[in-house]
């Protein structure tokens, strides 16, 4: 193929012309955009012609390519003149729409990676188009074969090019998943389950009733709250627009009103929530785009005149749980189910078409109650005794026995309460006396089964021994207003005692609940010597809040009283039976400890919907009737049929907090760091020396048990081993332990010094005691797993141990068995 000079000249001229034209337009457009002025109307107009113009090159070139297929045998087919015309028109269209597109992208706010791809494929197609014309002219009516080949290749390339560019263009205007979202196998990116709105109910002729209006705007406000408040509310006011109150919504933002009642087409807000995600003006600008349901809802609301009756503002857009206790009537006992817990669960099972299963066997049950009540594994002797026990009520009897092992019970529950009350034996703040331990008080309170109302009272209106919880952690230096110790107390009492998140509201009006900044301060003022100055997002607003409990129903606090008096009033008011929320919170926590999942999840968010409101309410009021007796609560749960159902495995921990969670039985969990350690310590060799004890209850004058056989892990200071197994730094309150294994954990177990040395010493001891491989294998299985090894297991172990095993081999057997899921899980 030869190039003639004139051809090159011609080609260059066209390219330069196009580039020049494009550049000129671009420069003009850019300049205006950069100056932030409204671009010249003509550019805008031309830009918006782009979507119109693009259809020509796409269809013309594609069609040309299609027809070209018919001419493969004979270039000078009768279609030839038509194809040539299509090519010429298509290329012209491509160049034109590329230029228009450039203008559009420049003068209007498009951006993002899709734009880039679209823009450059578009421009490339236009340039390839010019090449196409060049080769077409070179073909010399089919006589120049190389040029024919080149022409055809380029034609097909440009056909693909326009299609690709077109596709990305469409993605820009209609959204990336415009096409694919119609596939049945494409999942909705975001379809909130709680948006169960029947839009049809709001459509139709005539005015909506006020009730309907309140309902409709309520749904709209919920969408605003969950998607827009982050940037458009009291906390942050972007574009001078607030969407959290009626007046603000209709006033609009810096560019004027955002809602034109009755006309969603002319409403800025509606326009912007409909924009594709990559568009610069798309809203929400951060996070997820609204679902099509949500957009439809808001459009409908605007079209119906954006009704917002004043009464609507009194309705919360968030679910708020009842504060008062509720006493549901327990349905009549039914066959085999006498316990109210089981009757409620039976009701629930019937609703959800779940059948009761056979209760777990004795061995599984015994292991469960031992771990859940005293944190220890049963010994082989205890397993045997339980099996031999023929009393019909033996399960209940053994639960009672365990609950009466006061020190073991207290030691085990220290783990839970230390996490929740962030009580540590060492920890941040001790260096500057910024923190106080409540260990003595806590241990005795648990051991003596202090009624829960008293327990809370002493935490809130403390003595020297129990003041640590509300005193919080004081780091040296200045701290954020939302982290002064008074506010820490408000947050932590809220979270742990009341199942309430005040952390948002301690900085600004919450946008995930109705709690306001001033309410959080009013609550924090109870813990303060003086009245705190309110700060919004760290800036003092020159205001002081009153002094109040979060719920007026629970009584008043005398704001002029001193701290001691205020705390007494708080304690008295919070623990009264009228505070159903507090008792629901604690029974839900205990349920979660035993069942692996709360009736409400997360257990710190008690406004969420329980899977059985009746059961939750019954447990809470029954707890009150029992005199706030935690042991009795545990007894009732542990002896229920519900607790004795076979355990349920969860494939994804997210399912645990899912609203759709369905209760079927105890959820399988991992042993805590403390349970694991104590298992090793009790049966193989103590992991911790007695000297490691940070808290020795035996030093209490009133201790019942003479001595502990080994140092239990919940009483030693945190260390690498316990930390790796999931014991938290008690910097913040923690009501949930991570149940998932990690590499760091596995490394600690595999080559960590702590476990390795304990197993080494233990192996030595066992060798001296049992000598024989056969016995050692049996004892290992019986002690650690509560059963004899199966033949196959025995054989595998015997291969390693032999008749006369070395201590090394014994150690390795310990290790392998300890790491079995069967040892590590509560099932």
């Amino acid at each position: 193929m030869k190039f003639r000079r004139t051809d090159i000249f011609w080609l260059t001229a066209v390219v330069l012309l196009c580039v020049g034209l494009g550049d000129g337009l671009l420069a003009a457009g850019l300049q205006e955009a950069a100056e932030g002025n409204e671009p010249f109307w003509l550019w805008k107009f031309m830009g918006r012609l782009h979507p119109l113009a693009v259809h020509f090159p796409v269809s013309l070139l594609l069609f040309a390519a299609l027809l070209e297929l018919f001419t493969l045998k004979n270039f000078n087919h009768k279609l030839r003149p038509g194809i040539d015309l299509l090519v010429w028109a298509g290329v012209a269209g491509a160049v034109l729409s590329a230029s228009l597109g450039w203008i559009l992208a420049t003068v209007e706010d498009y951006g993002g990676s899709i734009l880039d791809v679209h823009q450059w494929t578009g421009i490339a197609t236009a340039i390839i188009g010019l090449l196409l014309i060049y080769f077409l002219r070179k073909t010399d009516e089919g006589r120049n074969l190389p040029a024919v080949k080149a022409f055809r290749s380029v034609l097909f390339v440009s056909a693909i090019g326009v299609s690709v560019a077109g596709h990305f263009g469409a993605s820009l205007t209609h959204g990336e998943d415009y096409l694919t979202s119609t596939f049945p196998w494409t999942e909705e990116e975001y379809a909130p389950e709680d948006l169960k709105v029947d839009l049809v109910a709001f459509e139709g002729e005539g005015d909506l009733s006020e009730q309907k209006q309140i309902e409709l705007v309520g749904k709209v406000r919920a969408v605003f709250a969950h998607n827009c408040y982050k940037c458009h509310s009291d906390a942050k006011i972007k574009g001078e627009l607030r969407l959290d109150e009626k007046d603000y919504v209709f006033t609009g933002g810096e560019s004027g009103p955002v809602i034109v009642p009755g006309e969603s087409d002319r409403s800025e807000l509606v326009r912007r929530i409909k924009l594709p995600k990559d568009h610069k003006e798309s809203m929400p600008s951060k996070g997820k785009v609204l679902s099509s349901d949500e957009i439809a809802l808001i459009s409908l609301w605007v079209d119906r005149g954006a009704p917002w009756p004043d009464a609507a503002s009194e309705v919360s857009e968030y679910r708020v749980a009842e504060l008062a206790p509720r006493r549901p009537n327990v349905p009549a006992p039914r066959e085999g189910l006498a316990q109210p817990i089981d009757i409620w669960v039976d009701e629930y099972f019937q609703e959800n078409s779940i059948a009761w299963k056979e209760p777990v066997d004795d061995k599984t049950y015994l292991r469960r109650i031992y771990l859940d009540i005293i944190g220890l594994l049963p010994s082989p002797e205890e397993y045997a005794a339980f099996q031999k026990d023929t009393r019909p009520n033996k399960r209940a009897a053994w639960v009672e026995t365990l609950l009466n092992r006061n020190d073991d019970y207290a030691t085990h529950w220290m783990t839970f309460w230390n996490d929740a009350l962030r009580n540590d034996y060492t920890g941040t703040g001790y260096i500057t006396k910024g923190r106080f331990a409540i260990t003595d008080w806590l241990y005795t309170s648990i051991r003596d089964n202090k009624p829960y109302d008293q327990f809370v009272k002493q935490l809130l209106n403390p003595t020297e021994e129990s003041k640590g919880f509300i005193e919080g952690i004081r780091w040296r230096g200045d701290v954020n207003a939302s982290q002064v110790t008074e506010m820490q107390a408000a947050q932590n009492v809220g979270q742990v005692i009341l199942g309430l998140n005040l952390k948002c509201a301690s900085c600004h009006d919450s946008f995930v609940s109705d709690w306001k900044l001033e309410e959080a301060y009013a609550f924090a003022n109870i813990f303060a010597d003086t009245t705190l100055e309110v700060s919004r997002c760290e800036k003092p607003i020159g205001k002081k809040a009153s002094t109040k409990i979060l719920w007026e129903e629970l009584g008043e606090i005398d704001s002029t009283a001193n701290r001691k008096e205020k705390l007494k009033q708080l304690a008295d008011n919070l623990v009264q039976p009228a505070n159903g929320r507090m008792y629901r919170t604690i029974v839900n926590r205990i349920w979660k400890q035993l069942m692996g999942r709360g009736l409400v999840e997360p257990a710190d968010e008690m406004d969420n919907i329980p899977w059985s409101q009746d059961l939750l309410d019954w447990l809470a009021t029954d707890f009150e009737d029992s005199g706030y007796d935690l042991k009795q609560l545990i007894y009732k749960i542990a002896t229920s049929n519900a607790y004795q159902q076979p355990s349920v495995g969860i494939d994804d921990p997210l399912l645990l907090t899912d609203d759709d969670f369905v209760f079927k039985g105890v959820v399988r969990r991992r042993l805590t760091a403390e349970q694991f350690s104590d298992g090793v310590s009790k049966y193989i060799h103590p992991i911790f020396e007695k000297e490691a004890l940070k808290y020795d209850p035996n030093e209490l004058a009133v201790s019942e048990e003479a001595s502990m056989p080994f140092a239990r892990a919940s009483l030693v200071a945190n260390n690498d081993f316990l930390k790796a197994l999931g014991r938290p730094n008690r910097e913040v309150v923690s009501t949930n332990r991570d149940s998932q294994a990690s590499l760091l954990q596995a490394l600690e177990l595999t080559n960590g010094k702590t476990l390795n040395e304990a197993l080494q010493d233990g192996a030595q001891k066992w060798k001296e005691k049992y000598e024989d491989g056969d016995i050692i294998i049996h004892e290992t299985y019986r002690k650690l797993l509560g059963r004899d090894p199966h033949q196959s297991e025995f054989n595998v172990a015997m291969e390693v141990l032999g008749e006369d095993p070395s201590p090394d081999a014994i150690q390795d057997l310990f290790w392998a068995v300890l790491l079995l899921p069967e040892f590590q899980l509560i099932y």
């Binding site: 921990p653 730094n729 998932q740």
Partner: protein
Amino acid sequence: MNYNWRRRDFLKKTSAATLAAMAAGAPMSGFLGSCSSKDKIKSSADTVILLYMAGGMAHTETFDPKKYTPFRKGMESKEVLSTFPSVPTALDGIQFSEGLENIGQVMDRGTLIRSYVAADLGHILHTRHQYHWHTCYEPPQSVAVPHMGSWMAKELGPVNPVIPPFINIGQRFTVGEGEELKAFHSAGFLGSEYGPFLIPDPTSGLDSVRPPVGMSSKRFEARNQLYERLVQESAMGEFGSDYQKESLKRSMEQAYRLLNSPEAKAFDLSQEPKEKYDVYNTGKFGLGCLMAKRLTEQGARFISVTSEYEPFVGWDTHENGHTRLVDMKKLIDAPIAQLVKDLDESGRLDRTMIIVASEFSRDMLTEGRPGAKVKDQVEVPDIIDDMKNYGMHRHFTDGCSILMFGGGTKRGHVYGKTADERPCKSIEKPIKIAALHQTIYHALGIHPETNYEIEKRPFYTTPDGEGEAELDLLA
């Protein structure tokens, strides 16, 4: 990239890593959900090495020297700006304090920030500022805050699946303020999966990644086999899959793979040629740098090597500032320079970012910063008669130096400026922690709006997503 593992190995490892990532992707608690980010950032770095000068490194005595005033009895405190003469560096017109000649010679390969401004946190506590430096959040916080290394581990995962993505070298936690140190050496709410792999002492680093002391590799192998066979035989099989069991098995496999992998040799400093070992061996810190080099070669994500914080030790000079700094410079000068050179020569510096930083600076007179002075912690006499008073003994937050090499940072670049007269505070382009973090995340391709919803609130890599990446630091 030319890491020296073979393709087949890599494929094998990646498939394991994918599984691990799946397990890891399942958050530890339900109220944790990931964000969606709009635009992808093109990364310029895969690995970050943080060389941390714990205890407050005076900028005027190191990378931003001022007028030298030699010691003489009876001198006035206020006349002392630097206690060392200045020496030239590879950059024209840029001088370092005497004793940092080697780092000066590689300065043409990196960026020198002279205008870092630490936070105002009132009465100063080192660990509180360190917490802030490493997490970008001021303690205390109402949720457990992740270390920057944990963010990287979470967002990017390991480079080489057998090397833990967040490795912390050189800090013991048995020292004073140990609990405070623990408070930020943590993955916080991201979950322990992303926490630091701790190597308090690089000379015994190998112990962390090899079979337990006294266990031969043959026995280790056999033990693992025993475990796997017993898992197979165990009655738990009947329960089918669930995530604890699966994650347990998977993490055991990972651990076994790490302890048994050739890459674990990266932790073994004795494998290094003697000449090189000797250059690095200025002490624990130098050897930490060597380990960082070796780990980078095997594919690490984030490595922090610290000069180690211990109250009144190391850079925490409450007295004898001058004499102590002679030793501190000896500790860091050769290994840092050598690390830069080694990674540059192997081509790895292009995708590895080295950062040298400290929580704040020091000054002879000002505690805190001009205009916001805080409670003094050191007695400084007006007239110096004793050598022990000659040095920067107060904590200064208004002008600190940071070095950055590689990973997309500019070569031979100086950013910002401090005043030449007291107070030697930042006077040009002051840069704060949030911008610094965002710059590092930007280089790694981590979106500035990366956040997780924790307790119903979005929690960003920097508070409220504040701070913009300072692109002027990047090439």
